[in-house]
Amino acid sequence: MTKHITILLLITALFWSCNGDEENPECQASDPDVMLMDIRDFTILPAYQNAYNKIVEARDISQDFILTPSQDQLGPFRNAIKNAWLAWQEASGFEFGPASDVALRSNVNTFPVDSFGVLLRIENQDITLIANDLKGFPALDLLINGIGSTDEEILAIYTGDSAADYTAYLTAVLIDIEDRILSVKATWEDSYGETFPTNTGFSTGSSFSMYINAYIQDWEQIKRERIALPLGLLTFQTPLPNQVECIYGGYSQELALAHAVSHYNIYKSADHLGIQELVEGVTNFTGNNGETLDETMVAQFELGIANLSVVPDPLSETVLLDFDIVNEAYLALQDMVVLMKIDMTSGLGISINFADNDGD
């Protein structure tokens, strides 16, 4: 009897020691996962690096513009910001771990911008940037594209009496974006980057599960915030053109397309290991014409991207003029959500959630 109990306790202790204890470094699988290392080194880090480089470039160029606000400087500055904004689209899908700890995405890209609030704060020389809709790329859009109806009007502001207040705000927004991307990038290069590949497996809380959840959530943002909302799909078919991502610069479609393309690229991960390799291993799925899940997803990505490509900018006008063309893009993006949320996750055995709870 005693012997039996001892054996039982020993077995239990053996199993107990590491189960569910992801915090304990000794309990993490010792071998870092090759795929997770690839995802870190060839997908996530380059995306943050690129976004960081581009915002630094934009800030450099902003200094020229601030020094001599002229039509000659305005063009390159606008381009630099657009490039940074496009680069951000490739980094916005990693909102877990370091990015989610500091709510990076909401901090740098909450739209629409509260333009009244921004102008009020400029007037009051308040550059504290306390709310997400007072800063980020949409605020930059306002400051370089939206504070006048012509370039002359905009330039007049940057050469006028309150020019210093405007440039102070502009610089604060640029620095805010730069600092935040830098801090997340630094965490990835340091501690988080080290633990990321060691938190293996597919269960809730594993690196891959967080990565996929963030990826899907970010894709849903393309279809909901960027397309469905301005198109009026959430408001009884009353379009809300002011809800587009880039209301003043008028390149919301370009941003959304870049976002969608970046998701496709993340899926494929070029020559490195990534989501596609795993999806290729899913066998239980058979498409309507016998396609594999991977083939179905690739086709759907391409359809979504194709449908989004033909939507003309500015999106804020298109949503008023051509419901169907935007809706076609929406539907293709939506079908992709179904594939991602149902077929991909169940095929890979990942549960769609961040929070833990019991099942039975």
């Binding site: 293996t200 959430l234 009884f236 239980n284 179904v338 149902i342 055995g349 019991d358 099942g359």
Partner: protein, 464 residues
């Protein structure tokens, strides 16, 4: 004469059920069950689930139709959990046992009835165990009650009090096993195969888990285990083997799947199948004292001749009312899991009769759903942000469970009505069973707000 025979039979059974047997198995059960419930209550609280599941959500999915939601508010819910924890201690120590077990049963069951979202077979099982325990004299010895109120002290209890718990456990396993007798489980090793695919990183064993053969072995072994384990545990000879299987099986499920305390509950409660002798020795080891309470060496012997007399022995009168109640309870327990046969639906797809039937870890169902409302006046449609009504957990649960979808649709319709807009509610949804390609789930042309109850789930697209 048949009538005579029937009365004889009843008399016979009654005699068997009321045979006096030693209290030890029941006492062990009481302590183990109470301790596990205390642990599980603290764990639930510690994870912040009280807040997440019962306080944060603004709507709940009632079992009694959407019009009768159980009252709740933060202080009340927290009080219930405090009562649960204290009464679990009461059960464990055998302190004010009747009151404790009643309070535990009521508070636990009340919490479980608030929201379908949190339904788990093992919570249902805990409710049933607490319900049955409530009627047993598990506090008559080895308890604080028996110290405080020496007149209730008795080393013997009627046979039914142990048998009822054993039988309830047997029902769980057996029905869980029968549920596994389906094509996907046995011949496609699904969803086991899907689940194991994601365990490739498991230390040492990971490489075996991803092998197709392993999925088949686990599926079949799981089915055979569930179906046969009760018989093994009832058999004196095979019991040690059976219990070893219980421990191995539940440890494995604990390691592989996120199923909380359920494995420990099962490992704990199945101890009740061991003989009174075994439990007596267990108590003697733990208590480091000998219990000299028997005139006859062997205990747990079911023959009526095994009369046990002790100084404290007090005959427990046969309570026919209680025995009838138990008879009704177990009849229902045998019928309820079979109720899905009343409908021709694909059980896994429409889930008509899925709950309360011991379908434990039986399928992998994922879904996606978006509600769409149509303004009756303008005929214009709008997508609903489901997140404005339901928590992430509720949303995840409702997308594959038709009765919850219907309740959610009615919540949404009512909300629009309160804002002065009459709407029809539709759902665009897909679901997938066991990793197959997603299929349309809810019929997107049916106004869900017009369906008040859902006996007939013809608004779910047929699974062919």
């Amino acid at each position: 004469m048949p009538i005579m025979m029937a009365t004889d039979l009843v008399k016979n059974i009654t005699n068997k059920l009321t045979t006096q047997v030693a209290v030890f198995p029941l006492a062990t059960f009481r302590v183990v069950f109470g301790a596990l419930m205390l642990f599980s209550t603290i764990r639930f609280w510690y994870y912040g689930w009280i807040e997440d599941f019962y306080i944060a959500p603004s709507h709940f999915f009632s079992y009694f139709g959407q019009d009768w939601i159980l009252p709740y508010n933060a202080p009340f819910i927290y009080s219930l959990f405090i009562i649960m924890a204290i009464s679990a201690v009461g059960i464990m120590l055998g302190l004010f046992f009747r009151a404790s077990s009643l309070l535990f049963f009521l508070s636990f069951t009340y919490i479980e009835l608030i929201d379908k979202t949190t339904y788990l077979n093992h919570y249902y099982f805990v409710s049933l165990m607490a319900f049955l325990l409530l009627f047993t004299p598990a506090h008559r010895a080895l308890s604080l009650d028996s110290k405080l109120f020496p007149r209730i002290k008795s080393w013997v209890v009627p046979q039914w009090s142990i048998l009822a718990l054993q039988f309830q456990i047997a029902i769980l396993y057996f029905f869980a096993g029968v549920a596994k007798l389906n094509y996907d489980w046995l011949f496609k090793a699904q969803p086991m195969s899907l689940w194991l695919q994601s365990k490739s990183d498991f230390p040492i064993l990971g490489q075996f888990f991803v092998m197709e053969e392993t999925a088949f072995i686990f599926s079949w072994a799981g089915m055979l285990f569930d179906i046969s384990i009760a018989f093994l545990l009832f058999s004196k000879k095979l019991r040690p083997l059976g219990y070893l299987a219980v421990v191995a099986f539940h440890l494995l499920t604990w390691l592989l799947f996120p199923i909380g305390v359920f494995p420990w509950v099962m490992i704990g409660v199945t101890l009740i199948f061991f003989s009174a002798d075994w439990h007596k020795r267990l108590w003697e080891i733990v208590w480091s004292s000998r219990f000299r309470v028997y005139r006859f060496g062997s205990m747990g012997n079911k023959t009526a001749s095994n009369k046990i007399t002790t100084p404290n022995y007090k005959l427990l009168t046969i309570n026919y009312g209680l025995l009838s109640l138990l008879a009704i309870h177990f009849t229902l327990q045998l019928l309820v899991p079979l109720r899905h046969h009343l409908s021709d639906d694909n059980l896994y797809w429409t889930e008509n009769g899925y709950r309360f039937s011991w379908r434990v870890m039986l399928m992998e169902k994922t879904g996606y759903l978006e509600f769409r409302v149509r303004n009756i006046a303008t005929q214009k449609e709008s997508i609903v942000q489901t997140g404005e009504y339901f928590s992430a957990f509720q949303q995840r649960q409702l997308v594959t469970q038709p009765d919850m979808i219907l309740q959610a649709a009615n919540v949404i319709a009512k909300d629009y009505e309160n804002r002065g807009i009459q709407v029809e509610v539709y759902a665009d949804s897909f679901a997938s069973l066991n990793g197959e390609k997603h299929r349309p789930f809810v019929n997107p042309t049916v106004n869900l707000a017009s369906l008040k109850n859902d006996q007939k789930r013809d608004w779910i697209v047929q699974y062919d």
